[in-house]
């Protein structure tokens, strides 16, 4: 059971392979971000170079999936055919303290009309879409 209706655009790794380790990781229930082998800086979203020390030698680092809400929004107006008649939903931007406070975006599971406290602790929940043409797994968030 997915949080949003089926039919929204499905994520696909980029042709150049930059984000493939991330999407491969979510399929296995692992949340990974980039980490520079040279200076240790965490980086998200993915890029080919470390923004801190300009090394190309980046690794993928598994993180705990514990985070806190940095910002949020509640879309009501459906802009995609798959959302027609669905009603409001919540999007949260979550910062990950154990990965240099990089931020990840996802939906906040639960009542779509709930109050959303900025600063609240959340944890990652993997949402597999096994029946998709190219199966993928999204990362959602729930309050802890």
């Amino acid at each position: 059971m997915s949080y949003l209706p089926n039919g929204l655009p499905a994520p696909e790794p980029e042709n150049d392979g930059l984000d493939k380790p991330y999407w491969d990781g979510t399929r296995r229930g692992e949340l990974k971000v980039q980490r520079c082998k040279g200076c240790g800086t965490f980086q998200w979203g993915p890029e080919w170079i470390c923004h801190k020390c300009l090394s190309f030698d980046l690794d993928w680092h598994k993180v705990s999936g514990k985070g806190r809400i940095y910002s949020w929004e509640r879309p009501w107006h459906p802009v995609h055919p798959a959302l027609q008649g669905h009603g409001p939903y919540i999007v949260v931007l979550v910062e990950l303290p154990d990965a240099g406070n990089v931020r990840m975006l996802g939906n906040l599971l639960g009542d779509p009309r709930q109050d959303v406290p900025i600063g609240a602790e959340v944890e990652a929940v993997f949402e597999p879409h096994d029946d998709a043409k190219s199966p993928f797994t999204l990362v959602q968030w729930r309050l802890t």
Binding site: D19, W23, H80
Partner: protein, 393 residues
């Protein structure tokens, strides 16, 4: 070596617009709209269209300068320029790029233009149908983040949270645009006044933005003509001189997946100081401001970052009476702007800024000498510009 600057080197001597339509309602093609606006600007200036030798635009405008030059029978095309980036962030940058070309002698008469007929193409506020998302979109679209409002609401939400901004602050920005549109017969929302009660009762598009916090989508075109300052007085209209222009964004603004280190920003924190430095004016010298409303929260942050008030003063400053011509502290969006005149992707704001200096606005600020435009908050690159009368040179 003297300071490198565009200050006082070029002037806008012609402005032109088509009729502004609701989206999808233009009776003519987008390219014809572009031509109509350009010819209207030439007529306003009293200049032969064959004197045009360059074009500047932004946001991937579809109307190619070479086709325009062929259609208009221009003797020579000398400058064709597109500012990278989406949204309306390039509106003032296109003016700056045109000015740079004219000031450096690359071209003599450059048209800055934007034309949109969204009925003939994909709308901005509706996601394209399609099966997959890659790159930045893969981190957004599967979670229901597709439209510009959805893309930027979390920037504003963080700013509102950090600075304890009241609902009335965003509302005042919407009310100011609608108020000014009521005196402007060109405005799509002319004759459709907005009350605070109607604003409060309007539906959410995406919290924290209601329907009236969001720009319209429209069809139309606008154009401005830029010439060297030494020729500015040869034409029929009072020249509007460019005092300053700046574009860009701060450190890692475009870090993917909403990872800009300074997230709660309209992207002007480094741009605005550069603008004031070139123009040689301070916020207190600015008589009237046109500030691009994609969403009211973007205007709020833009005004803070351009130094008109501090974030903690926003609730007190952003009251309708402070934002209205002729006598408000900071008359804002005096034609009705993107919310209520026309979403001409912000270029109607440049046109209105010129009108204020000529004394031709339908919501005129008496004696306006310094006129600012802020383009496309929250995207990157953004841009802003300051125009002045001859007295400011």
């Amino acid at each position: 070596m003297s300071k490198r600057t565009l200050r006082g080197q070029v002037a806008v001597i012609g402005i032109g617009e088509t009729t502004y339509y609701k989206h999808g309602k233009s009776p003519v093609s987008e390219f014809k709209l572009a031509l109509q606006a350009i010819l209207a600007a030439c007529k306003d200036a009293g200049i032969d269209p064959r004197k045009i030798d360059g074009f500047a635009s932004y946001s991937n405008d579809r109307n190619d300068p070479s086709r325009l030059a062929a259609a208009l029978g221009l003797p020579a095309l000398r400058f064709s320029n597109m500012n990278w980036g989406g949204g309306g962030g390039g509106g003032s940058a296109a003016m700056g790029n045109a000015a740079a070309a004219v000031a450096c002698g690359i071209a003599d008469c450059v048209v800055v233009f934007r034309a949109l007929a969204q009925g003939q193409f994909q709308r901005f506020g509706a996601a394209p149908p399609g099966g997959s998302a890659t790159g930045e979109a893969a981190l957004n679209a599967p979670y229901g983040v597709m439209s510009p409002a959805q893309r930027y609401a979390m920037r504003a939400m963080r700013f509102l949270h950090e600075n304890r901004i009241a609902d009335s602050a965003q509302r005042a920005i919407a009310l100011a645009s609608y108020h000014h549109a009521q005196s402007n017969p060109r405005a799509v929302m002319h004759g459709r006044p907005l009350t605070a009660e109607a604003y409060d009762a309007s539906r959410w598009i995406v919290e924290p933005w209601r329907l009236f916090d969001c720009c319209m989508e429209n069809d139309g075109a606008a154009a401005l003509i830029v010439v060297p300052a030494e020729r500015a007085r040869d034409f029929g209209q009072k020249p509007a001189y460019l005092l300053g222009s700046a574009q860009g964004s701060e450190y890692r603004n475009a870090a993917r997946g909403h990872n800009a280190p300074l997230y709660a920003t309209s992207s002007f924190t480094t741009v605005a100081p550069q603008l004031y430095d070139m123009a040689g004016v301070k916020p207190a010298d600015v008589d009237v401001v046109q500030s691009y409303e994609n969403f009211t929260g973007g205007v709020l942050m833009s005004l803070v970052e351009h130094g008109f008030f501090k974030a903690e003063e926003a609730n007190d400053f952003l009251k309708p009476e402070n934002l209205l011509a002729p006598s408000g502290k900071l008359p804002l969006n005096t034609s009705g702007g993107n919310l209520a005149e026309c979403y001409m992707h912000g270029l109607e704001l440049q046109v209105e800024a010129v009108r204020q200096l000529r004394g031709q606005s339908t919501s005129q600020v008496p004696g306006a000498e310094v006129s600012m435009v802020i383009s496309g908050p929250m995207v990157t690159p953004v841009s802003s510009m300051i125009l002045g009368t001859e007295a400011t040179l």
